[in-house]
Amino acid sequence: MVEQHKWVTQGAEFNRHFEERPSKQQVEVILVKVAHQPFGLLMSQVYNIVRPDNGEVTLRQHHTKGQTWREIEYRGEFLKIVELDRILYLSQGEPLELEYRQILLSGRIHPSGLMVEPFGVLCDEILVITSISTDDLRPIPGWLFKKRLGKLIWGAALLKPEVLVEKYDLQGLSDNVLDGKGSNLTHQNFPVFATPPSVGQPKGSTTSLLHTAQSNQDERRPVMLLDLEILHRRIYNN
């Protein structure tokens, strides 16, 4: 039932709370591209970046049913890797191509300082590493994707377009992600019309509430943030 998915969006109150109490705290985020979409990962969860095209990586094990990872050999060690496009339902099971892709290494740090239970996440491209104020982080309602992704997406960062444009062509965002129902309507159809309306104003409005909002004044784009700890738990079952 809907009741199970309750999630509070306080809206204006939420923003006011952030504006009145700026945290000045920053988090470092690595922005990656997966299936033409930008995603953010906390740098505190990433320990290294591997380029599979340098000959050090070979695929050792293919997917088995219900398994979210494959195994590769990296510098003589076996390493479990998760394909982000697959786990995010952004690909249709195309064969794994390691070349031209990048692997972010993650895991847990043992008190001795060594990384234990390592794993890698495969992305298409690394866009940029940037610092984001915690005031620019927003929650995403869990009921949107709880059933399929659990808490893998833990929030969104509101980023100025310039942050992404530096290394990334925004026009190429997401060619096929949301069109699962076979219609032509996707999020891509919208930016074209992001201009003040000339028609369609509500007639007979009896309250100012219904005057169409004319200016958003916030051009920042929400970028989904992924929690690698969730993937770690899935791989190592803890």
Partner: protein, 181 residues
Amino acid sequence: MSEFQFGLTAPEPQSEAERLMLGLQKRTSAFQNEQDQEPLVSLLTFNLGDEWFALLLDQVKLVSRLLEVAPVPGTSRYVLGVINYKSTIYPLIDIHELLSLESQMPTRASRFVIINHNQYAFAILVDSMTEVKEVRERELEGQIRSNKDISHYIHSELSLNERLLGLLNLDAILHTVAEVD
């Protein structure tokens, strides 16, 4: 001694028609009083395809022009993504398919209606806004004549200006969006 002797005039005997008219006036007046006491409900009406739908005005936070939509993977097929309106993120839902309507390409008349329903805040895509209608609360209890496939998502149907207006059932819509992959 009869009362007529004190200058009081006897009421003239009413004709049948007059009595009926008097009765009608009383009933009209009573009906008017009843109507005045019954609360009015404001509905925000809009079009989805060629169909006319409404939401309770109290549930509507605002109506926005189209904004950029950021995709969210792993959501139900009814979710187009999220929008950033004044630093708040709202899921955007396309309810055309739920209502057995063909999705329309957005035009300059399309709008996002941002809704606060119970503890949920989200936006729906509508093809064009129409107007705010005030109706009697009792009219919201009308029978649903739409086909069974979509009647679940319609709370009630009203006949206004010779058009059928469907009041959306947000609980049912949210339930489906949250549950269906």
